[in-house]
Structures are given as structure tokens and as C-alpha cells.
């Protein structure tokens, strides 16, 4: 059970405090409700580039990192298709420094040309390092537009191309900031060796005078139901063939979300999972295979990805995977379900040991509607039945609902 207090400032900033006096540290997580799904299709990668710019100095403080380092702090950030999330940890007695820095960059950035110019290059190098200069690195640049035709999940957070990043202008940066970065579009969570009353005082002092802003109301186009299998073949100079099968699944808050999550665990999480056991260890069809979900707010994906052994065709590999999916609807036992639930329990307990992870988790669930959802997560997994699973497998893991990418190895 993660206990917390919650309050809201007049400007709409929601603040959550989880006190833990067993640590000398405090952590702060600030979640802005903007991600790649909120981008203009002609300026993709922008939310992520913007995350970089948030470290380029704010209106009154030329450097974000240096003052934080001065007081023993450490920070980082990440951008997903749904959110942009900033987090830090520092010795608890120095927490006011973090309030100063975070509030100033919520108030306004410095918007310097130098920062924009340099971060454009840095992000392009990130694009190359993670997506272009790695074997199989470009899979998601192709799998997303195959699976999504309408929803902005069709592009990756890094963006569709280097050109989208290199073409960004300062006016774009300013417009984005004032459309999305605002107290009424943020959730702040403070955890660690702190007291709620003190956090209230600091929040009011540093964030209280930041004005509310008009948050962009652009509707996100939702993905229609998929009715036929989609296929794509990529030929690349990689050593082995690989297959990626993406099934559409319900978003985070939908009733079936946890059921499908459990299915992905049964199929391909761990050495005892069905796909790994049968297709790697016994039949030797794949060198490795796994299954996982993307965990998005809107329509997400359940992915099965595997490296195919030499002399096995794509057709055979695919049909073996679907054979396993069929078997799952026939002989699924209570014990197997219990195993996956036990795993989910351990994952949750281990996942929330650290004050920083607790802060990020609380912020995420608050965005989803209520921070207290963090405390009912396990119960929700535990209430899934064998019957639920069978129904969900038939509903979602069917070939018409699949986008299949064959990543074909060719000689260089």
C-alpha cells in the first residue's frame, strides 16, 4: 500500500506527496500530459526534442543541471507517445532547490538559439545511434505506420525522419511550450523524506504564481478497428531473419487491458513462457522469441517478436506462432494463470521499491484518473480468470487483427 496526500493549487497544478522517512533522499517527478501523440504530423519527434530543450536554461536560471549538481542532485527525463516525464532525486534537506529549478522552467524557458541548434544535432545523433546504426534498429519506424493508419501512434517518439527534427524553428518551440507546458497540464509527485505541510508551502511559494494556460484541445484521431492482416517485408543486411507480429489491443484504462497483458506474459515473458519453451527450446524454430505490450493510453499493441533460425521460412515461423496461440485457447490451466499472476505481483513489489519509481508510478496513475489506482493494480491482475483470457485471445490475437513485419536478412 502506497499512502499519499494530494492537493491542487489554484492554477491547476496537482501535487501528490508520499512520505518515506527511511531514506535520506527525496524524489520529484513532474509529468506533463503531452507526448508524441500530440504532435503535428509534419513536425514529428517534437515532444522529445522539446524534452531536450527543457534542460537548456529557463527564464531566470541559465542552467538547470549545474545548480542541481551543486546540491547533490541527479535528474533525467523521458518522452513516450503519451507523456513527457521529468524526474530527479537529491538529499531531502535540499529539496527547495528542485522547486526553484522546476518551477522556473514551468514558468518559461530561456528559448536560446544556441540550445535549439545544439539539441537538434544531439537528437539527430540519438536518431542515428538508436535507430539507424543498430541491426534491426529501424523496426519501429516501420512497424508503427503498418499497425496504425490514423492514430499518431503511427510515428515513433524520435520522429519519422531527421528532416522533421532539423527543420524545427524557434517559433515552433515557443508555440509548443505555451500549448502544453502549464501547471494545469502537469502532475507533480514528491516522495521520500518530506512532510506534506512543507511541500504545500514550497509548492505554493514556487509554483503558485505560474499562470494557467490554454491547453491545446486538438482531438487525437482514434484508430478504427482493423479488419484484415497487414504485411510488410523489409530487406536489411542483418545476420538472421526476424518476425514482428503486432496485434491491436485496448488502451490502458479499458476493461481488457490487464487480461491482454497477462496473455503477453503467458506467451512470451520468461523462460517458461509458451512461445519460448516450445519454439526455442523444443522445436528450435526460433533463436529467441518474446512477447510484450506497448502499454499506451489509446489503442495499444501486443507484440510477438522472434529471431528465426536458419533454414526456417517466414511462413513456417508464423504458422508455428499461431499454432501456439490456438493451443492457448484450448488447454490453459489455472496453475499457469496463477504463475503469471505471481510474476505480476513480484514485478509490482520490486518495481515500487525505489522512491523515484513510486513517484513516477503515482504521477502516471493520477494522469489516468486517480493516483490510488496504483494500489489496486495487483487486485485487478488477480481478478482475471481463465475464461476472460480465452475470450480475449479469440478477440484480439486473431490474424485479421495482426500487422506482420518480416525482417529479411540479405547479404551486404
Amino acid at each position: 500500500m502506497i499512502n499519499f496526500d494530494k492537493f491542487e493549487l489554484d492554477n491547476g497544478l496537482r501535487v501528490i506527496v508520499h512520505a518515506d522517512n527511511t531514506t535520506p533522499l527525496a524524489a520529484i517527478n513532474i509529468l506533463y500530459q503531452v507526448g508524441a501523440r500530440n504532435e503535428n504530423p509534419n513536425r514529428t519527434g517534437f515532444a522529445h526534442l522539446f524534452e531536450h530543450l527543457m534542460f537548456g536554461g529557463s527564464i531566470n536560471v541559465p542552467s538547470y543541471d549545474e545548480p542541481l549538481q551543486w546540491v547533490g542532485g541527479e535528474n533525467n527525463a523521458f518522452t513516450t507517445n503519451d507523456i513527457t516525464n521529468y524526474h530527479l532525486s537529491l538529499p531531502a534537506e535540499n529539496i527547495e532547490t528542485a522547486f526553484w529549478l522546476e518551477s522556473d522552467r514551468m514558468l518559461s524557458l530561456a528559448f536560446t538559439d544556441k540550445s535549439l541548434e545544439v539539441q537538434r544535432s544531439v537528437v539527430i545523433e540519438e536518431f542515428r545511434q538508436r535507430y539507424l546504426n543498430q541491426p534491426y534498429g529501424d523496426v519501429w519506424l516501420h512497424l508503427r505506420p503498418l499497425a496504425y493508419k490514423v492514430h499518431p501512434y503511427k510515428w515513433a517518439t524520435i520522429g519519422v525522419s531527421e528532416e522533421h527534427i532539423s527543420g524545427v524553428k524557434m517559433q515552433d518551440v515557443k508555440d509548443f511550450f505555451y500549448s502544453w507546458y502549464a501547471p494545469n497540464n502537469a502532475i507533480m509527485v514528491v516522495t521520500g523524506n518530506v512532510k506534506t505541510e512543507e511541500i504545500k508551502r514550497l509548492a505554493q511559494k514556487w509554483f503558485g504564481d505560474i499562470p494557467r494556460r490554454n491547453i491545446s484541445k486538438l482531438e487525437i484521431p482514434q484508430e478504427p478497428e482493423q479488419i484484415e492482416t497487414r504485411r510488410l517485408v523489409l530487406e536489411r543486411p542483418v545476420p538472421m531473419d526476424a518476425i514482428y507480429i503486432a496485434f491491436k489491443m485496448p488502451g490502458r484504462m479499458a476493461a481488457d487491458y490487464k487480461t491482454v497483458d497477462i496473455i503477453s506474459d503467458l506467451l512470451g515473458n520468461g523462460k517458461s513462457s509458451r512461445l519460448f519453451r516450445t519454439l526455442v527450446m523444443e522445436k528450435k524454430i526460433f533463436g529467441d522469441i518474446e512477447s510484450y505490450i506497448t502499454g499506451c493510453i489509446d489503442t495499444g499493441l501486443l507484440i510477438i517478436e522472434g529471431r528465426i533460425n536458419p533454414d526456417i521460412s517466414f511462413e513456417q515461423a508464423e504458422s508455428e506462432v499461431f499454432k501456439i496461440l490456438n493451443e492457448l485457447t484450448e488447454d490453459l490451466s489455472e496453475t499457469e494463470l496463477e504463475k503469471v499472476k505471481n510474476k505480476a505481483e513480484a514485478t509490482l513489489v520490486f518495481g515500487y521499491i525505489d522512491i523515484l519509481n513510486k513517484a513516477t508510478g503515482l504521477a502516471f496513475f493520477e494522469m489516468m484518473g486517480d493516483a490510488n489506482l496504483i494500489n489496486s493494480e495487483l487486485e485487478e491482475y488477480q481478478s482475471v480468470t481463465v475464461k476472460d483470457l480465452k475470450i480475449a485471445i479469440k478477440k484480439y490475437l486473431k490474424i485479421e487483427n495482426a500487422s506482420i513485419l518480416n525482417y529479411k536478412s540479405i547479404k551486404n
Binding site: T22, T23, P24, L25, N60, V61, E66, Q69, W70, G72, G73, E74, L90, P91, E96, T97, W100, D104, L107, V118, Q119, R120, S121, V122, V123, E125, E126, R128, Q129, N133, Q134, P135, Y136, K205, D209, P237, V238, P239, M240, K271, S272, S273, R277, V280, M281, K284, G287, D288, N309, E338, K339, N342, K343, E345, A346, V349, F350, Y352, I353, N412
Partner: protein
């Protein structure tokens, strides 16, 4: 109502004390040291069993890794499938790894399942059967991984760098090659296991919520083999660094190059080590480092650049690491040397040194926060037959080190003309 001055940093306090939790040390079965760190609020346990059984103890480099990986592929009483089912059923997680010095099995489990999962951990460490079928699957799988890794510029530069600074034949400098996978058979692994997974050759570190029951259970269950000959000797070799300073591994289709610049260096046992770590932090050891500020935040050459001082049991080394756009490779190299020279030519100013000291003190607090962080910290000293005094000494050095001390260390260890330079990619 107070008037807010956003231009001025709030008051802060310097960290003057770090709580270093001292482990309780027990001996079970008279010889096995068990380090116990009872900490944290959650009912979780991490148990690490570390053997002196890394790759330096075998002639073929892969023997250690495969012996380690095969532990949970079958025991005399459980098949590979049963082991996987049972570990997963209890929601536990087993991590097997082997490096050049050590091989370990680490169990993460909820406290309520400790009894059951300890049985499994004990079984795989004591009674592995090394079945041929599972071995052949694992060999195929890892061969594939190897081929994929060989396409990454960072793998190519890391391997070359090893060879260059230690020598191709040295047990720290040699790299696994594709052909080595064909030399692995189950008998070698059995022999290696018998020789080194021995009670006189291991440490146990257990952290989390550790009750008396946990310790009793450990004493009665964890009966590590003591009946065979035990020999953890290995062929001592002197390192033979390359006679050429510059090395280039070309990868024609690369859009980025991976650069490593570095050299063999002192390890944890040396009295200059803490000071050199501080110097390295300034150079490339944190986000605000000189290399990051220069190559990333000023010039935009790279997504990330860093440097590290690494300790191996019988050696140490220094290296800078980055991947840069192919067209910027030469410019980036020039800047790295410039930053090395700057540490030698100019004293670090007090503002920068103060910031680094405070940042590192914060890192110290983080290093000892929570049961698993503490056991990581502990592990980093007991691997070197040291104890928590290492950290006390480190803290003393950190608090007292001066710009002149750092300049002297830079002159002694960071001379650009002593560095080896490896580029993999395109330039």
C-alpha cells in the same frame, strides 16, 4: 508575503555524513562468508552467490560463460523446463552472469517464497547436469547474438580496445570469436563447474528483509560442494599492450563511429584511485562533465559521451566512450585530447570542483539508499577483498582534494601521448 527572487538559488546544505550500513558477516559451513544487509521496508530478498569462476580461469574464453548459463538448464533431479516453470511460478527472477573474473547466480524473490526459491537456487548451483540438447540450443542462440553484436560499432570498438590495451593473448585482452562456439562441449563445463563452484571459492551476499528464519534456512540448505579438488589458479600473464597507438576498424555502412580513447591504469587497490575517480568524474563521469559539455552540449557531435575508470581483479583501465556522426569523428577525437590536456595544463577552478564534490556526495547517498543499492556497493569492494573502509577513505579524499592534487594526478595518469585510440565505423 515573501517576495520571490527567482534569480537566486535557495539555501542548501552540504552533505556532511553518509550512512554506510555495515553488513553482518556470518560463516556458514565453516567457510562460506555470508554478508547480510538487512534493510528496506518491502518483503523482498536478493541473494547473490559469487564464485571466482570468470573467463580467466579457462583456456577457451567461453567456458566460464556457458558453465554459468547452463546452471539452470537442468539438474540431476529437475529438467530445464521444470526449473523454468518453478522459478517463474514463484515470481522469482534468476540472473546468471559471468565476466572475466567472476561468475554469479543472483536470485530476486519475494520473502514469502524464499524457502522454495532457495531450494531451486541451491539445486542449480550444486547439481547442474549440463544436458547436451539444451547446450546446443543455447550455443546456437548465443552464436546468433554474437553475429548481431558484431554489427554494432560499439561492440567492435570495445573488443579492439581490450586487445589493444591488454594484448590479444592476455586473459583480459582476448575476445570470444565465432569459432570458439564450436569448441564448447558439456564435459568441459562439467569439469569447470567441479573445479570452481566450490565452497572455498565463493561469497554470498543477501539483502532485503532478512529474518532469523531466512538465515537458518540458508545454513541448513545451502550446502555447497566441498568434496572435490579445488583449484582456482589461473595462468598468470603479463599484459602486452599494442605497440601502435591508433587503431581503426572499418565498417563501411556505418553512419556513426564508436570512439574509445584510453589506457591500462591503476585499480581499486592503488592509493591514487579515489583521486583519479574524482578527476574522471570531472572529465566524463556525469552529465555536467567536460566531455558532455563540450562534445554534446556545445557541439552536438553525439547523443552521449562519457569516461570511466574500471577495476578488474588484476588490472584496471581508463576509457572514454562515445558514438559520433561519422563526419564528426576526427573533430570529436581532437576535442577529447583537448579535454585531457586541459586537465594537465590548467587547475580546475573552485566553482567546478565544488559542484563535482557535492554531486559525488549526493551519489554516495544514492549508493547506500535501499537494500539493493547497498549490496551493489558492498559487492564493489568485496570483489577486491576490501571492506567498507574503502568508502570511508574515498569520502576523506573527496572532501579534501585540491585543484593542485587533481592537476598532479592528471599529469601522472592522463598524458595524451600515453593513450590508445580505437575507432570503429567510418572516418
Amino acid at each position: 508575503m515573501e517576495i520571490l527572487n527567482r534569480n537566486k538559488a535557495p539555501d542548501f546544505r552540504l552533505i556532511d555524513k553518509i550512512n554506510i550500513n555495515t553488513p553482518k558477516i556470518y560463516k556458514i559451513h565453516e567457510t562460506i562468508p555470508v554478508y547480510v544487509l538487512n534493510a528496506g521496508t518491502e518483503d523482498v530478498i536478493r541473494m547473490e552467490v559469487v564464485f571466482n569462476a570468470g573467463s580467466k580461469f579457462s583456456e577457451i574464453p567461453l567456458v566460464a560463460a556457458f558453465t554459468n548459463m547452463m546452471l539452470n538448464e537442468g539438474t540431476h533431479s529437475r529438467t530445464s523446463k521444470q526449473l523454468a516453470e518453478e522459478f517463474d511460478y514463484y515470481g522469482s527472477y534468476l540472473q546468471l552472469s559471468a565476466d572475466r573474473d567472476f561468475a554469479e547466480a543472483t536470485l530476486y524473490t519475494l520473502g514469502k517464497h524464499f524457502d522454495k526459491t532457495l531450494d531451486l537456487l541451491t539445486d542449480i548451483i550444486l547439481n547442474p547436469s549440463f544436458p547436451d540438447d539444451e547446450l546446443s540450443v543455447l550455443l546456437d542462440n548465443k552464436r546468433q547474438r554474437y553475429q548481431i553484436d558484431e554489427q554494432k560499432v560499439k561492440t567492435l570498438s570495445a573488443k579492439k580496445f581490450n586487445e589493444v590495451i591488454f594484448g590479444k593473448e592476455h586473459f583480459y585482452g582476448r575476445n570470444a570469436e565465432l569459432s570458439h562456439y564450436n569448441l564448447i562441449g558439456s564435459q568441459q563445463l562439467k569439469d569447470f563447474h567441479k573445479r570452481l563452484y566450490h565452497k572455498n571459492n565463493c561469497n554470498v551476499i543477501i539483502s532485503g528483509k532478512i529474518t532469523d528464519d531466512v538465515l537458518k534456512r540458508l545454513e541448513s540448505n545451502f550446502k555447497v560442494c566441498d568434496k572435490v579438488d579445488f583449484d582456482n589458479s589461473f595462468l598468470l600473464q603479463t599484459t602486452q599492450p599494442s605497440s601502435d597507438k591508433k587503431h581503426y576498424v572499418e565498417k563501411a555502412d556505418a553512419v556513426q563511429s564508436s570512439i574509445r580513447i584510453g589506457k591500462p591504469l591503476i585499480n581499486k587497490h592503488h592509493e591514487d584511485y579515489a583521486g583519479v575517480q574524482i578527476l574522471n568524474t570531472i572529465l566524463g563521469g556525469y552529465f555536467g562533465s567536460r566531455l558532455m559539455s563540450n562534445l554534446r552540449e556545445d557541439k552536438g557531435f553525439t547523443y552521449g559521451v562519457g569516461s570511466a575508470i574500471a577495476s578488474l581483479k588484476d588490472a584496471g583501465y581508463f576509457t572514454t566512450v562515445c558514438e559520433v556522426g561519422a563526419e564528426s569523428t576526427n573533430l570529436a577525437i581532437t576535442e577529447i585530447y583537448k579535454e585531457l590536456s586541459r586537465l594537465i595544463d590548467e587547475k580546475v577552478d573552485n566553482e567546478e570542483l565544488g559542484r563535482v564534490k557535492n554531486y559525488m556526495l549526493g551519489e554516495f547517498v544514492r549508493m547506500f539508499d535501499g537494500p539493493f543499492a547497498q549490496s551493489d556497493a558492498l559487492r564493489s569492494v568485496i570483489d577486491f577483498d576490501m571492506d567498507e573502509k574503502y568508502f570511508e577513505n574515498y569520502l576523506t579524499v573527496l572532501k579534501n582534494i585540491t585543484p593542485s592534487d587533481l592537476q598532479n594526478l592528471a599529469g601522472k595518469y592522463f598524458q595524451p601521448d600515453t593513450m590508445y585510440e580505437v575507432v570503429a565505423g567510418k572516418m
